[in-house]
Symmetry: C4
Subunit: 371 residues, 4 copies
């Protein structure tokens, strides 16, 4: 255990035996301090959207293909010119130092170990360069919370580019902080600095609540911002936080090289739909013009399968990975992805799908369950 | 604590730190005497409609608009020629002296403090003039429970007009008292007089049950009554308790200047639909001929947003405000509206809507949640 | 308390203060011996249909009519040439001696006191003549469980006719006893004789289980039986246990003078629909050729209203009445009907319906509740 | 109690008084060791499909036919040229020695005693010949988990043919073991050898987990395998694990003489539909070209009725039978089938269906239950 500014950070480094991802929550709750855990765990307002995110996967069912004559399903996939060993990626998530002393550095190591894709958050506990270096050549994306101050944005983008990230994820669903009651109950303030703020901003985030952090961020984000970032970085810009076909098309029109369907894990707007419920319609509208990343509510191999079958090209998640980080550091992160990949591989084999491409073409069905 | 006729009234005056409106119920239950609390809290019969009122907001979801290029949402609105700082108003609610020694006077102060609209009830604990004076120039409406005795009605309407109210709300869904089991269990009788009865009627309500109070009220209410009140007062008459498009049109035909969609918070007819479920169809039928006020079940910023997006021009609520009144007097009332406005502002920003007019044009969607 | 063959029968005679009918169950459970209570209470198999019966009333909602200009709703109705003060009747129910020493005699008195209609069961604890006499001129029907032995049937029908019953209810949904687990768990055997068996059959039912009782009854019932009974008695024959439009029409074709929509309170076939769910379609098919009686699941005034609005001409119930019988004898029965009529009257007034005919023409609506 | 390799096997032989099949689970849990019980009981992943299997029967309702003029329903049926006294058969289930020392031998006896059909599993605890002999002339099928080693397959098929089985069931939904958490939690390894492995394979299964067992099985199963087995055995081949109309038709095209609609009791692919939900569509597509067997979730007489009415020709189940085996050996198995047949007979009589053929033509209906 590492004590940082009075905050007890886990420093475990060990492989985990994971029964399933949902079970990690209770285990992690025991070792992450209350405020940090509440920040990671909580959703907005009455958390209807948070809960709906995971329940929504039960709205459709996998139609298995029998006699498919396949074995050894292959989880690898290509996206944005990158080869990945798994279609499950690490979503950008802030302040992973809340869960572990090594923070995003360990996450990046764990993700790299499974051949996955890591996304860094603007509000990372560790620096862009350190996190990138930890990835040891594995691909990473950088997620931008636009600041009102373009100089700050430019500095981050420069640094990210220097660090070799392959794409920029522009988050557009967080122009103000969601009404997260956990943080209010805990009167939560970040006990640990955020590396990018420390380096490029006036304050480092320490001692601030998420509301204060977001206050420095841009509340007004327009299609022009997508193009500005694309032009500035010459990197693909993926717009994160899309929940409707119309917005997906608008983002593409503004130069988005990818669409990231997400409701921020139910942490921002409450009362919007479950992210999975909107995925199929968005995918239909996007019609393969650009790749689609999906997150919010993914906890099971069958969820990953359903998201891919509903139109996603990559599937992201964060909370369970951060719990794994707390419980086992880089090895814990690796264990989480391996557990999910294991469930996915079984689902693929039993559904009669050998490749991720097969999964993307697999049929889903819908029966009414109203008893 | 103030002891009135043996009934313990709160006399707290303090700002509240409100996590959310639903949490006020348990807190208020501790300080409002059982009978009074039961009267405020209870619904009719098996309370299906009461419960459905709040659940119904989950039947539709907000479609957020990303890249909307907005900040600082503006909650102000215009209605009946009045400027209001918030689209959330105080619903007319009887006997607020049950919750606080100052009763409606404190409610009016709290509402005025947030630039909102106050509606007085016929069965108020405080007088029309006192409540109006407490509003200190802020707009108020007066709600009429028609009596069988037109002289009584005329006296009230005269008094309300003298007090400067801007409109009359004619309640039509309470021609007999709903079957409220809480009141029966508690053998509830009003321990405190009702100011308007005290002044203009034979009895003052004290020591009577709600059934006895309503017995003096008109059971037969017809479209002619709408016109009679409009003619008598020369004020806009808003018909409260509409639950179908047909009735909305009939009320307008009878001279209604506004439609108030409500099922009396599930306190009158049980087995009718959730009020939110009927709102959109009524709004479509009304088609902007007159403004629409909506209440029943509103507890969250996302509920207010959905009601506005479904066709309401103003959104009202009562129980949580009365709980806030018990817990903090005028300041408590103010805190309740501020808390709800805060949630609404976040919802508006995250949904990409800058003005109340934007919210009224925001799309809603519907996904099946049947697991 | 009366001890009959070792079975403790209530002999209470008192008016009840009834909060609502569902609350009677727990009270009655305390004074009815386990076996008797289980027989009254239980449903078939996993009781899905039993539970669905009451829940189904929530599938539709009452559309209140505002500004209806009515007061003092009138619950009286005419059916089969009879004037009744309430549209709620006593369903035929066996062995009411399980609940009270006076059995059906007290039930008949209580029903007569509210101006209602009493239906006697073949398996009554008291004799046709005694029960009829107790009704003191109020109308009664006689329900027939056809025996394999026509002489038995004829004797009963003769006796019923002599006693002045106005119609015969032929039960067709009980050609074998439903799989009621309560009776199995309690190893239930009737502790008290059945008056009609005592008089006309070989055994009196005492010491037999319901399976043995039913074994003497006809398992094969055909349309010819309807006509045979009608011809024999020259009384209207009402076919009880109809659950589909096709069967309703077939029964009418066979000479039925009335259709009784019922699934025997979920005591016979489990896995069939809730009785209320099939009512509207049956009423549409019957199209007023003959009157419709409805039972199964009715507990609230709003349920009675919905059943009438969905097509019933009379609404019946049994369990809550039998609980009232146990708790207060004839006065208890009267209290149950008065409580339900009170709720119905409130519902009628608030829905804007003055007469039962108005209720029958009142609109119902359906909203999806899927959260 | 018999101790085998340290595993405590029941050796009870007694008739059971069964209230209902679901109640057997708790009773059996007390006498089957934890690991064995978990293996029998558990489903895959989050067990959504497992739970949905039984709930799905509530999605449709039986439309009873009144005045049907029938009695004494006849449960006998003909299929594959066999006469059976009940349409309920024993599903192939592995390792019944986990429940009872006599294993499949006792199951076969119990099934024969009710005139039913027994299916042997490849992974039986007892040998094909012993199990067949125990059936004493009653018909049996043999279920094949194809091995990667055709010699093994051929040996089993030869042995099965010698033993006189009437058909081969080829399981195609288990090309890898489902993710069953119970087995992981219990670190379950088979404590008892599997007779067919003992005789024909290198290892006998003892000390192995289900994953290791399946590892020797074929992961690639194609339509050609259906024909190969049919050609080799000259017996009807029934393809088990079909969940879509397309697969049913493909299997028939490959020579399947029967379709077995099953999701392996929710033990293999999780996230697929409830088996009952897909049955009607498959039956429509198959259109009586070949018979259909159905399993997964059957626990009640009404379930059997609904499955037959939805298109099944035979209905299978396993878990409750294995619980009965543990609790009472051959007599316990017999009791389970008798209890289910008893419920089915009541359902048939009350639904107005005299024969299994009548049941297959009985209408089902669907009402929305969304409260």
């Amino acid at each position: 255990m590492t004590l940082t500014n009075g905050y007890e950070q886990s420093d475990r480094e060990e492989q985990l035996h994971i029964l399933n991802l949902p079970s990690l929550e209770a285990a992690a709750k025991k070792i992450i301090p209350t405020g940090g855990f509440g920040y990671i765990y909580g959703g907005a307002e009455d958390e209807w959207t948070l809960k709906a995110n995971t329940q929504a996967f039960n709205h459709v069912q996998i139609v298995p293909r029998a006699l498919a004559n396949i074995d050894h399903p292959d989880l690898s996939t290509e996206i944005f010119g990158l080869h990945l060993d798994t279609p499950v990626m690490m979503a950008p998530a802030a302040a992973q130092g809340l869960a572990h002393a090594k923070g995003e550095v360990d996450t990046a190591k764990g993700v790299a170990a499974v051949g996955g894709l890591m996304a860094q958050s603007t509000y990372s506990s560790t620096s862009i360069a350190d996190t990138a270096a930890a990835g040891d050549g594995a691909p990473q994306f950088f997620q931008l919370y636009m600041s009102k101050d373009w100089t700050f944005n430019a500095s981050l983008l420069d640094e990210a580019k220097r660090a070799g990230v392959k794409a920029i994820i522009l988050t557009v669903d967080a122009t103000v902080d969601g009404y997260r009651e956990e943080d209010i109950v805990n009167n939560f303030q970040f006990p640990i600095p955020m590396a990018n703020l420390e380096k490029f901003a006036n304050g480092d985030g320490k001692g601030q609540g998420i509301g204060e952090i977001y206050a420095a961020a841009a509340q007004k984000i327009s299609p022009d911002d997508v193009r500005r970032i694309a032009d500035y970085t010459d990197l693909p810009v993926i717009v994160k936080g899309i929940q409707s076909p119309a917005d997906a098309l608008r983002a593409i029109g503004a130069g988005a090289a990818g669409i990231y369907v997400s409701n921020h894990g139910g942490r921002q707007l409450n009362g919007g739909p479950a992210s999975f419920d909107v995925l199929a319609d968005i995918a239909k509208a996007v019609n393969h013009q650009v790749p689609i990343i999906f997150d919010s509510g993914v906890r099971r191999g069958s969820h990953v399968f359903k998201a891919l079958a509903a139109g996603a090209d990559l599937v992201a998640l964060a909370r369970p990975v951060i719990y794994g980080l707390a419980l086992g550091g880089a090895q814990g992160v690796q264990s989480v992805f391996e557990a999910l990949d294991h469930e996915l591989a079984i689902t693929m084999q039993l559904a009669g799908t050998k490749t991720i491409e097969d999964v993307k073409h697999a049929p889903l069905t819908h029966f009414r369950y109203d008893d």
